[in-house]
Subunit: 228 residues, 2 copies
Amino acid sequence: MAITFYDLCGRDAKRFSPYGWRTRMALAHKGLDYDLELVKFTEKDKLAFSGQKLVPVIVDGDRTVNDSWAIAEYLEDSYPDRPSLFGSPEGRGMAKAINGFVNTTIQPLLAPLIIADILEHVDPADLGYFDESRRQRFGRPLAEVQADRDAKVDGFRKSLEPYRIVVKDRAFVGGDGPTYADYVLFGTLQWARCTSAYGLVTADDPIHSWFERLLDLHDGLGRSEPAA
Amino acid sequence: MAITFYDLCGRDAKRFSPYGWRTRMALAHKGLDYDLELVKFTEKDKLAFSGQKLVPVIVDGDRTVNDSWAIAEYLEDSYPDRPSLFGSPEGRGMAKAINGFVNTTIQPLLAPLIIADILEHVDPADLGYFDESRRQRFGRPLAEVQADRDAKVDGFRKSLEPYRIVVKDRAFVGGDGPTYADYVLFGTLQWARCTSAYGLVTADDPIHSWFERLLDLHDGLGRSEPAA
């Protein structure tokens, strides 16, 4: 019985959720097929069966799992014969900590740099909801939040240092092959790539080359989503 | 031929370097004996042979290695038959990223909370150097830096969240046994435990129970250094 994957979509079915991308890469890593259900910001009633309102959600037989990290653990446990997402039991806990660090340190520094650009890629039906909810979160109009990004981008770039020191001398965080620790930051940067043309990372940054490698993985899955 | 381990010491040979503790735990994890050379802040000439001025440094036969992360990798590669510090090749890269995250996010939030307390534990010969160099780093007197710590401690506690979500339902970051990913944050918190009585972590915080487990490891090695 196939998996059903509920992912966020924007205008023209564009998919840019950072958490959705983590799950999308994890499913590809495991080589799992799925039926896709696209959900707009204002269609969260489609997720009511999951008991909460956030994508990603997967349904696998009689199991419903939400939260990208919980989905990664579920896939690892349910499909142990497929390529491992964590490499080892030790890697699972470490990847969870890295997932937490990216969510709490890198992603909050990225959001203000692209938040107004994202508006261009939100489905017209969601525009009012998105603009108002994010305006409340940031406490001012999104164009204003983003206006001084040239002054803030260095702080964002510095926040990537823990990944940079790792991937400057190996292909992926875990070594020769990708693991979920790669997909975590990949999802965050892919969110930006799909919604904003702003130059977040310089071409000579090891993060840039690493991200290009991630875009190539799984038959160019990441690259298949057009850049903004 | 035994390893020589150069570690920082303060008043009464107290050892509180966060990086020194990472190396000390790594050496214990590998079950390696060593000769100890204590180095005060103003005795950095003792390290001249290593081509730089910072502890920890180890000398193993004809190899000299400085920087706690480089030492961890050296020990893992040179003593592959001893218990692994990383659990797997994937875990090595992930632990390196975690080492980077702790250094750049948690440690800078901790330093201002304890920096004046540390003065009490610095060797009298080092006091002038320590006070002046740290005053320059923080841009004001250390007592002043520390004065508003009650307002800042919540930010520090929040920064521990990536570890907290992992150790709230497992004994160590990597699962049942400790890895270098544990020793990284342990070193940082042990630095505080040895130099300050300030209540950084509440008793009901999963980080507290995890830290107690770390203090018990390797025959109570961490606990053998008196708390401030």
